[in-house]
């Protein structure tokens, strides 16, 4: 059972307190988007074996959404951070690079 620290309330939460929300940092395609761009937004998701950025909600806790940087294969957690960002913050990127020097960086 995964444990993630909620960056909003500071609780180290068990997976059963959380709901997953899929890939983080998706950009919403609005009414003027092309069919392809909109279909991408609706349906296309990264599914890496390795470093991944995810949305989680501390639903049985403070009720707030946050982001987690995680390795999908080893389940290592590089850090959790505010959902109110459009890209992983520098300290998270640095934490990943420290443990994954070969990582190509955020998409």
């Amino acid at each position: 059972m995964l444990q993630l620290e909620c960056p909003v309330c500071g609780v180290l939460a068990d997976e059963t307190e959380l709901v997953p929300g899929g890939e983080a940092h998706l950009q919403r395609a609005g009414p003027d988007s092309t069919d392809d761009a909109f279909a991408d937004y609706l349906f296309t998701r990264a599914n890496p074996r390795g470093v991944h950025f995810e949305r989680w909600c501390h639903v049985y806790g403070c009720g707030k959404w946050f982001h987690a940087a995680r390795d999908t294969a080893t389940l290592e957690v590089f850090g959790t951070y505010s959902a109110q960002t459009t890209a992983p913050p520098d300290d998270i990127v640095a934490a990943i690079r420290a443990r994954r020097p070969e990582w190509e960086g955020p998409a």
């Binding site: 059972m1 995964l2 444990q3 068990d14 997976e15 929300g21 919403r28 395609a29 609005g30 009414p31 988007s33 069919d35 909109f38 937004y41 609706l42 949305r55 909600c57 639903v59 009720g63 707030k64 959404w65 080893t74 389940l75 290592e76 957690v77 959902a83 109110q84 443990r99």
Partner: protein
């Protein structure tokens, strides 16, 4: 025969006799016995039947690896199937039944003879029953169903209680042998909180039984001293008869405790910062012909039964081995006064300290010899001896009552592997052991498990303790604590000579013998089965496992795994490490469903949400219906009424006179803040921001796929605030939906939401007399001029602060009154009293649904299923064309959602007004698709007998439906059809004159 010895038994208390029954036969054992030791003490050597061939099976092991001795325990609501006799403590009055045999253990009609067994080879599940097809239904399936499964399922609800227990520790030590005790002690001395868990009923593991000394004294003394020391420490928790069943992601640990008092079992949910796996090792059987005969046991188990429980497996026990450890069994039996006619050692050179001791005791040792097969009718009566280097020519037959076999030991690496740790092959010891370079890791990437002792591949008893000390110190260091550095206790045991590989006995055994060499005793998988799987191309260990069912029994391959790998390796000309192991998955031993459920059963499984008026409904004939987590009255039955009659009465009374509905379950979410208008415009398909305070508007919510998922009336409270009503089942989801967008997309918008659903009781007062009864209560001007349709007002009604919404879901004159929940029952009572003069009567959800269907109002979950758009439902009028954006807008412009032939909402009237269309029935147009199925052109979404119209009505989604008004289409109904005419979905009062009154 197997009997109880007159003296001895380190774990039994001969002063406490315990009575139990075995298949109805009364037997006796002692306190401290396991069920298996008590059965053996009573000469019950035959304890079960194998799964596939129903061959007789005896106790093989003395621990959780036991594949055969599975029994049914107890009776009625306390019946438990598939309990392992080897790990079940004997209790007075215990009812024990054998399994998998009919009519009885001794005479099982299911025994598969040699001829038929040819058809049950590897892959029989996949091959045998394919042809002829007609046989499947009539012959194979019923036969398999009767034979399938181990044990029988309990036939009633579990009468016992189970509970969860949560525990946090710095270090969890799994296993209370000398390695585990040493590790726990080191960690505790470093100041850490330690949890030490042992699956057996006593501490110390094998050390005392195997003649280990610590600092020159018997291991038992050191064990007792260390346990006392740990028990005296406040930071240490110790538990016996508790099995660590799994190490899961991020080091979450589950353990199952067989509780002595209170609940029957406890499921421990443990978070430890570090885990020491000191889980010991499991002995391997030897692969010789007829090694599955009752009386053939693991050598370590024979020793355990003799030393711990004073059980003699028979006067004469032949020991067969490829290692030195089995000599301990021969020595122990001899010390108990029993005979060991021979030790058949497959190795040519036998010269270790233990063999020397056995030789000195006069036990005949036959180096280079092997078992060509066990002999006997049912149980073992002797072994046929051959040379290991040969092909099984029988040299002599030695009469005996038992065979003690040892193929070496496999470290119990389950916990290490479950958590993701990797293994390496130790060619000297012929075993897989944890690879310290690739440990299981936690969230921070650091190792979370340290293996210790035999589980770490450190088999020599003398080295086990030292490895435990090192593991405890390493765990402490990993957690930043300061471990001791001094010299710890040292254990000593006789030196052991190396093991030799024996993956087939004798090594040149011909197919006739290999057919009878069992690898998996429970699932009946032989050496030939695995070899056949390899020949047929199932070379991957994971494929071969599933094809042959090797290792898929309840013991999960604890005994059979390595033997199967060796056969695959031989067949492929590869080495064992090249083959690799199958995946180790939790649980280590089976966990009962009762323990997994814990207290969450019955009424405690999920709380029922109840409205403020729940008690009144219950006292007034409510027939309950679950609605999301709520319970709501489906209808209120009067004496002598059927449910249908009650529903029809409620509909008629509401349309003619006055109905009252508890609408409290409707979701009520307050959206407030300077950007609230902009936000509700984005959530709803229509424009809400233009709504004036005091007015209401019906709104639709779509997801980004453009599909409708919730609806409800929005009331503008003030400039900054909207009260959003949702469906009863949708309030939590809609609130979460709002929060998700506010937190993750438009976090710069100043909007706050609050789910007020349970803070208000809401009562719908519906029908021609609705205004009259509210005026009788007094306090608020509810005239049509003061409060027009789709308006709301607030004030004091009958002295209770209230908001009154003039909205209608029935098509009648209707007011919904929201009051603080604590006043709900008081208002209900006042309305019932004042309404008596107007024939007021409560109505339930079914009348509500019928009245909305009569009006053609859609219901989320009936007319919608996650693939339906507002446009499909003819709700285009509630979808803004002018707004730049709202959730779902872009999707609704996609080609598939604008297709002209989409299924759209219509009314349906059966040609026979007495016939009601079945719910969900599909309309067919008579053509057949290339796939052979009939083309469907629509389906029924709601269907009722309408008391108002005195005929059946239905709503449905039909291809190009609104263009086909008047057309008659056919709905499939079993083998026949029902004809229905497509009509306008509004069946009643299409002009809406009644609600506007």
């Amino acid at each position: 025969m197997s009997t109880r010895l007159a003296t001895g038994g380190t774990r039994i208390d001969r002063s406490q006799r315990l009575g139990f029954t075995w298949d109805g036969q009364p037997l006796q054992g002692f306190a401290g016995d396991t069920l298996a030791s008590a059965l053996l003490a009573n000469n019950q050597v035959l304890v079960g039947r194998s799964f596939k061939y129903h061959r007789p099976r005896g106790v093989v092991a003395a621990g959780p690896e036991e594949p055969n001795a599975l029994v049914g325990l107890g009776t009625g609501g306390s019946f438990e199937p598939n309990a392992r006799a080897t790990t079940t403590a004997l209790a007075d009055g215990m009812l024990v039944a054998s399994q998998n045999a009919w009519p009885g253990l001794a005479h099982d009609v299911g025994v598969v003879n040699g001829w038929l067994s040819r058809f049950l080879r590897a892959g029989f599940y996949y091959k045998t029953f394919l042809w002829p097809r007609a046989f499947w239904k009539r012959l194979y399936e019923p036969a398999i169903r009767r034979a399938a499964g181990l044990g029988r399922a309990p036939d009633r609800a579990d009468a016992d209680r189970y509970e969860y227990l949560y525990l946090h520790a710095d270090v969890l030590v799994a296993g209370g042998g000398i390695a585990g005790l040493a590790a726990a002690r080191e960690a505790a001395q470093a100041g850490l909180r330690v949890l030490l868990i042992e699956q057996e009923a006593c501490w110390g593991g094998r050390a005392a039984t195997d003649g280990v000394t610590v600092d020159g004294k018997p291991a038992a003394d050191w064990v007792a001293g260390t346990v006392a020391e740990l028990q005296a420490m406040e930071t240490v928790t110790l538990r016996l008869r508790t099995t660590v069943t799994g190490v899961h992601d991020h080091g979450f640990v589950t353990a199952l405790e067989a509780a002595d008092a209170g609940p029957r079992q406890r499921l421990w949910r443990i978070r430890a910062r570090h885990i020491v796996a000191a889980t010991g090792a499991i002995e391997r059987p030897l692969p010789f012909a007829q090694n599955d005969r009752p009386g053939v046991m693991l050598a370590g188990a024979v020793r355990d039964y003799a030393v711990h429980y004073a059980v003699s497996p028979g006067d004469r026990t032949v020991v067969v081995t490829n290692n030195d450890d089995a000599y301990r069994t021969a020595i122990a039996l001899r010390e108990a006064g029993l005979t060991v006619p021979a030790i058949l050692d497959a190795r040519l050179r036998v010269e270790g300290a233990l063999p020397e001791r056995a030789r000195a005791m006069g036990i005949p040792i036959k180096p280079g010899h092997a078992v060509a097969g066990s002999v006997g009718r049912g149980r073992v009566e002797g072994v046929a001896v051959c040379v290991q280097a040969g092909e099984g020519a029988v040299l002599e037959t030695i009469p005996c009552e038992a065979v003690a076999m040892s193929g070496g030991w496999s470290p119990t690496v389950h916990l290490w592997s479950q958590a993701g740790g990797k293994l390496r092959w130790d060619a000297a010891q012929l075993l897989f052991r944890p690879d310290p370079a690739r440990p299981p890791i936690g969230a921070d990437g650091a190792a979370i498990v340290t293996a210790a002792g035999a589980a770490n591949g450190v088999l020599p008893a003398g080295d086990c303790l030292e490895d435990g000390v090192a593991a405890g110190r390493a765990a402490a260091k990993a957690l930043g604590a300061k471990p001791q550095t001094g010299k710890a206790a040292t254990a000593a045991a006789p030196e052991e000579a190396p093991i030799e590989a024996v993956w087939c006995m004798p090594q040149g055994a011909p197919p006739a013998l290999r057919d009878k060499i069992w690898l998996d005793f429970q699932n009946d998988v032989t050496m030939s089965d695995v070899a056949l799987a390899a020949r047929e191309g199932y070379e991957s260990v994971e494929h071969a496992k599933r094809y042959t069912t090797l290792g898929m029994a309840t013991d999960q391959g604890k005994l059979s795994n390595i033997g199967g790998l060796a056969v695959l390796a031989e067949a492929r000309g590869a080495t064992i490490p090249e083959i690799g192991t199958t995946t180790f998955r939790p649980p280590f031993t089976p966990v009962t469903l009762g323990a997994i459920g814990g207290e969450a059963r019955g009424a405690l499984f999920k709380p029922t949400r109840k409205t403020a008026m729940d008690g009144w409904h219950d006292a007034n004939g409510a027939v309950w219906e679950p609605v999301a987590d709520w319970r709501r009255p489906f209808c209120y039955r009067k004496p002598g009424e059927t449910v249908d009659q009650a529903v029809a009465r409620e509909v008629r009374n509401t349309r003619r006179n006055l109905g009252i509905l508890d609408a409290s379950t409707l979701g009520k979410i307050l959206v407030t803040g300077p950007d609230a208008g902009r936000f509700v415009d984005t959530l709803y398909t229509n424009r809400m921001s233009t709504l004036k305070p005091g007015r209401c508007r019906y709104g639709l919510m779509c997801n980004e796929n453009g599909f409708l998922f919730d609806d409800g009336v929005v009331a503008r409270i003030d400039d900054h605030s909207f009260l959003c009503h949702t469906t009863s089942g949708g309030s939590d989801h809609v609130h979460a939906w709002m929060e998700e967008w506010l937190q993750t997309e438009w976090w710069d918008w100043q909007v706050y939401t609050a789910n007020l659903t349970e803070q208000f009781a809401q009562i719908a007062v519906v029908g021609p007399q609705a205004r009259a009864v509210l005026e009788a209560l007094g306090g608020i001007d509810l005239s049509a001029d003061a409060l027009p349709f789709m308006g709301w007002t607030e004030g004091t009604l009958a002295g209770i602060p209230a908001r009154v919404f003039r909205i209608s879901f029935s098509g009648e004159l209707s007011f919904e009154i929201a009051v603080p929940a604590a006043h709900g029952q008081a208002l209900w009572d006042r309305l019932m009293a004042a309404g008596a003069a107007h024939a007021i009567a409560p109505y339930g959800t079914e009348a509500l649904h019928i009245m909305r269907a009569e009006k053609g109002f859609i219901m989320i979950g009936d007319e919608t299923d996650g693939t339906v758009t507002p446009q499909d439902l003819g709700l285009d009028w509630a979808v803004s064309k002018k707004k730049d954006d709202f959730l779902g807008k872009r999707a609704q412009a996609r080609a598939d959602l604008t297709r002209p032939d989409r299924w759209r909402l219509v009314g349906l009237q059966t040609l026979d007004p007495r016939t009601r269309l079945p719910d969900g029935a599909h309309a067919v147009d008579g053509t057949v698709l290339p796939t052979g199925i009939r083309r469907t052109i629509g389906r029924v979404t709601s269907t009722y007998m309408s008391p108002t119209l005195d005929r059946s009505i239905a709503l449905g989604l039909v291809e190009r439906g609104p263009e086909r008004i008047g057309e008659v289409i056919r709905f499939a109904d079993g083998r026949g059809h029902i004809e229905a005419r497509i009509v306008d979905p509004v069946f009643y009062d299409p002009q809406g004159e009644r609600q506007n009154g």
